[in-house]
């Protein structure tokens, strides 16, 4: 307590009393003429206070501005990425066309061209269209945006993985989720509240499109254990789960894989053919 008492009883800088004693005039004496030092001190103090006020005033909306700027920049970059992806798709299609016209001249060339097409479709690097089945998965309604709490009424990455695997098993020739074509190296995984497919975040309701024989896929998928599980989830937790046959689905191409380590094994027949 004595500290606080000291603090409030000797709140005036003792230097003033000492200086007054040195000058030899006690309290109540003649007030000294204010000098330039005083003006300088007052100037510095006022300046400091004004600077602090200006800073506080300037900084308050700056945080909000930074946030808005960041959000705008993210949107801009996302648009740029979309545009570039579109350009890549167009250029790749042009390359394919040029290659086909170049190869169409000879019989072996035409054969090669057809084989490249088939390989592209199988590897997911060519856009495809055809009949198939579309499965829709969605979070249960009334799911708060809090993200915490229960994940029972949300679609998880493993649900999507199971559905995709069931579609492959049912005979799908090409599968895409929300416009993200799945290839041999695609990953479907949860990152926080979002699901990433090919490292692109997608949001529900998730449309899983599978190109293939619609009747065969639908029959096999409907009978699969995954479909049974999803149906019971839908009854228990209100998840959205339905599927339908489609006469025409358009699946985009996946981004081209850059193979860094894998090299094709030189086939003996090809070598023999060249000789």
């Amino acid at each position: 307590m004595s500290l606080l008492v000291d603090l409030s009883s000797s709140s005036l800088d003792p230097g003033y009393a000492e200086a007054a004693a040195r000058r030899g005039d006690g309290p109540g004496g003649a007030r000294p003429r204010p000098g330039p030092a005083l003006a300088l001190g007052v100037l510095a103090a006022t300046l400091l206070i004004v600077i602090a006020a200006v800073q506080a005033h300037v900084r308050a909306p700056a945080a909000g501005r930074t946030r808005a700027d960041l959000a705008a920049s993210v949107t801009r970059q996302a648009h740029a990425v979309d545009a570039l992806a579109h350009e890549v798709a167009g250029l790749r299609a042009a390359v394919g066309r040029l290659r086909d016209t170049e190869l169409a001249g000879t019989a072996t060339g035409a054969q090669l061209s057809a084989r490249i097409r088939a390989e592209e479709i199988a590897s997911g690097t060519a856009a495809v269209t055809g009949p198939g089945v579309e499965v829709t998965l969605g979070d249960a309604p009334g799911n708060g945006a809090t993200g915490g709490g229960s994940t029972r009424n949300r679609v998880l990455d493993r649900d999507l993985q199971a559905v995709v695997n069931a579609l492959w098993a049912a005979g799908a020739e090409a599968v895409a989720v929300d416009g993200q074509r799945l290839t041999a190296s695609s990953a479907i995984r949860q990152a926080g509240d979002a699901i990433l497919i090919n490292f692109t975040p997608v949001s529900g309701p998730y449309r899983v499109q599978a190109v293939g024989d619609p009747v065969a896929i639908e029959t096999a998928f409907a009978a699969s254990a995954t479909a049974g599980l999803m149906r019971s989830y839908s009854q228990l937790y209100g998840l959205r789960f339905d599927y339908s046959r489609e006469t025409e689905l358009r699946l985009p191409a996946a981004a081209e894989e850059t193979l860094r380590y894998a090299h094709p094994v030189p086939s003996p027949t090809a070598r023999g053919g060249h000789r």
Partner: protein, 110 residues
């Protein structure tokens, strides 16, 4: 008169120049302001009591600001910056209040 001029000059130059405080110094600005207020109130009280001395005022002002900033800086380095800032605000706040009370007594005799 000279004091009023200094106040006006400080406000005007602060508003006109709008100096950009470096990011590293920004955390110490509020503490420096509290220290400056303490020096100002002390100076006014000393002036009213007739023992004002401009050298003491300037030295106490600069010293207060520097020491307060230094303590907060040290606290930041040690991980107790917030606590030390609170301590400084409490100590200087008590001084400001009791100086303000003394000024009030001098001015209004109440």
């Amino acid at each position: 008169m000279i004091v009023l001029l200094a106040v006006v000059a400080g406000v005007v130059s602060g508003l006109v120049l709008q100096p950009n405080v470096p990011l590293d110094l920004q955390p110490y600005l509020p503490i420096a302001v509290v220290a400056a207020l303490d020096a100002l109130f002390g100076g006014v009280r000393a002036w009213l009591e007739g023992i004002f001395d401009d050298k003491v005022f300037v030295v106490s002002f600069v010293g207060n600001v520097l020491v307060a900033s230094l303590i907060v800086y040290l606290g930041d380095k040690l991980g107790v910056g917030g606590e030390l800032s609170t301590g400084i605000v409490v100590v200087l706040g008590i001084r400001i209040f009791s100086n303000a009370a003394a000024i009030r007594r001098h001015l209004f005799r109440a």
